[in-house]
Amino acid sequence: MLRHIAGHMAQAVLLLISVIVLIFCLLQLIPGDPIQAMVGDMPVPPALRASLEQRFQLNEPFSQRLYSYLMNVLHGDLGYSMNYRRPVFDILAERFPRTLLLAGVGYAFGLLIGITIGIQSAVTPHRSVDQAWSSLVLIGYAMPTFWVGQLLVMGFSIHLGWLPTQGMGPMISRASGVDWLLERAAYLVLPVATYTILETTRVARFMRASVRETLEQGYIVTARQKGLSRREIIMGHVVRNSILPVITVMGYSFGTAMGGAVLLETVFSYPGVGSLMVEAVRARDTQVIVGVVILIACSVVVMNIVVDLLYAWLDPRIRVSSAQG
């Protein structure tokens, strides 16, 4: 199994490097003045131009630039943002945990609820229940992420006044410890709820199909004739085997969740990586844009590795047969 995992890791690293190289190449294709593109929407004084030219070795051949770019990235130097006047890495380090909190929690909840709904939907003997859930999931799937967010804001914040509309916390706050958490929590409820709804619909659909397929398998019949009860069959045989296909797509769907961050953070004015991306695109702050793209590519790749490990652990066919060589 270790060889299997090592192989996947090597592929992942290769993928990451390819992404960085690809981005670098694309950046070279931007028409116009590369210095201006780097700086954004501001005029460039000659001194700055000279120093940037030197720093980025703009007069060196392509391969040399690519190499030093790669080296920089691998050492955590992602450039400097003219817009924010800070190194890109620092900005990302500050904002990423916030997005991770939001997307992570929403994703986790969505996964749990989605799996439960998917199983219920597929297993219930009453067709009406199945159809009800399936219709709900279908409609939820069709709703744009941010629109759901807007609806929730309109409903719960504006209309009912229960929860704040935006931001990550109150402007001024002297709370600490548990109070601090509770204060923050109110701001997180709606964004997390939006994430949860979206991920739930995605997962529920997939899980239902997977469970349906599992139920056609022979070992379910074997379980029935051993005299196992409905609950025992579902717990012991259905869940574990149906989850496997869902897990394989977990890596990519996490990427989609991160992508959703871009839109959701705009709706809720949440200061994470998503809203950073949008601001950077508006200000044409190329360094930040590239930084965010690399960061997200990294997290997707890492997630895929985690998923691979998880899958190998859960499916004995991979775990055991590769050990035998």
């Binding site: 070992y219 004739q225 051993k226 196992l228 045989h237 574990r240 066919r317 055991v320 047969s321």
Partner: protein
């Protein structure tokens, strides 16, 4: 092996009908079948694909697949109780304690690929008191089907076993509640020839040594000849002939049975004589 049964039948089907709805049409898979299996007797049901024999077997064990049933009627008496009319709870209790188990064609898909063999066997042995008893009985069951390396096999996953071993594990699982009858639906069709032989020998041994009654559903007349005492021939959802094995092979009453036998003989001849037999 008993040719002239004494006492009441162990399993008795009367006027069993299974009509399925397939793509808006009604298919009369089983259309009024009467069948008896006596204690210790080995009964075979033969027919071509589509004759309804598998459906009959699955109806009798209440293990029909997820298809839409237009009609399911008749009675199937097992030790006196009508299996078809039972409440689900009662049926489950019957399965756990008296066993009306079935072994199918493709052993790989009938074992859960993510669980070890010992866990899957243990599921069938939950009526036993403690883990030690379960382990002991599991080993015994494996030995009964001719798998002697029990300690090793129990720790394996299904994909690590060969086809024949898997099938025998499934038979062992079916024997867990010490049943009086075992139903088998094409138990050897998916296996290699040499392995087929092993499984057939296992079944025969179980029949003779444990006096285990069997209901073998197959299109393989050779297996019927080797194992069965009584044979029912099915065609188009109905029984067209029922006789003891010797009578059936020597003097079939029905034209369809005769044609089945003739076809089997031709096949056998071609196999045996090889290229020498030119039609």
């Amino acid at each position: 092996m008993s040719l002239s049964p004494a006492g009441p039948p162990l399993l008795s089907a009367r006027d069993v009908k299974v009509h399925l709805r397939v793509h808006r049409r009604i298919v009369k898979a089983v259309d009024g079948v009467d069948l008896d299996v006596y204690p210790g007797q080995c009964v075979g049901i033969v027919g071509e694909s589509g004759s309804g024999k598998s459906t009959l077997g699955r109806a009798m064990t209440r293990l029909l697949p997820n298809v839409e049933i237009a009609e399911l009627s008749g009675s199937v008496r097992f030790c006196g109780d009508d299996v078809l009319a039972m409440a689900p709870e009662t049926m489950r209790a019957l399965r756990r304690h008296r066993g009306l188990s079935m072994v199918f064609q493709d052993p790989l898909s009938y074992l859960n690929p993510t669980l070890r063999i010992d866990r899957q066997l243990a599921e069938a042995l939950r009526h036993l008191a403690d883990r030690r008893a379960v382990q002991q009985k599991s080993a015994e069951l494996l030995q009964q089907v001719g798998l002697d390396d029990t300690a090793r096999i129990l720790r394996l996953y299904p994909h690590e076993l060969s086809g024949g071993m898997r099938q025998r594990v499934l038979i062992a699982m079916a024997l867990a509640p010490d049943p009086q009858i075992l139903v088998a639906d094409e138990p050897t069709t998916a296996l290699d020839a040499t392995v087929q032989y092993q499984v057939i020998q296992t079944l025969r041994r179980l029949n003779k040594e444990r006096n285990l009654a069997m209901l073998i559903i197959t299109h393989d007349l050779g297996m019927v000849a080797e194992l069965c005492d009584q044979v029912y021939v099915m065609q188009g959802g109905k029984i067209v002939e029922a006789a003891d094995v010797f009578t059936l092979f020597d003097a079939p009453q029905n034209a369809y049975t005769a044609s089945l036998l003739a076809a089997a003989r031709r096949l056998h001849q071609t196999k045996v004589l090889g290229s020498a037999a030119t039609p």
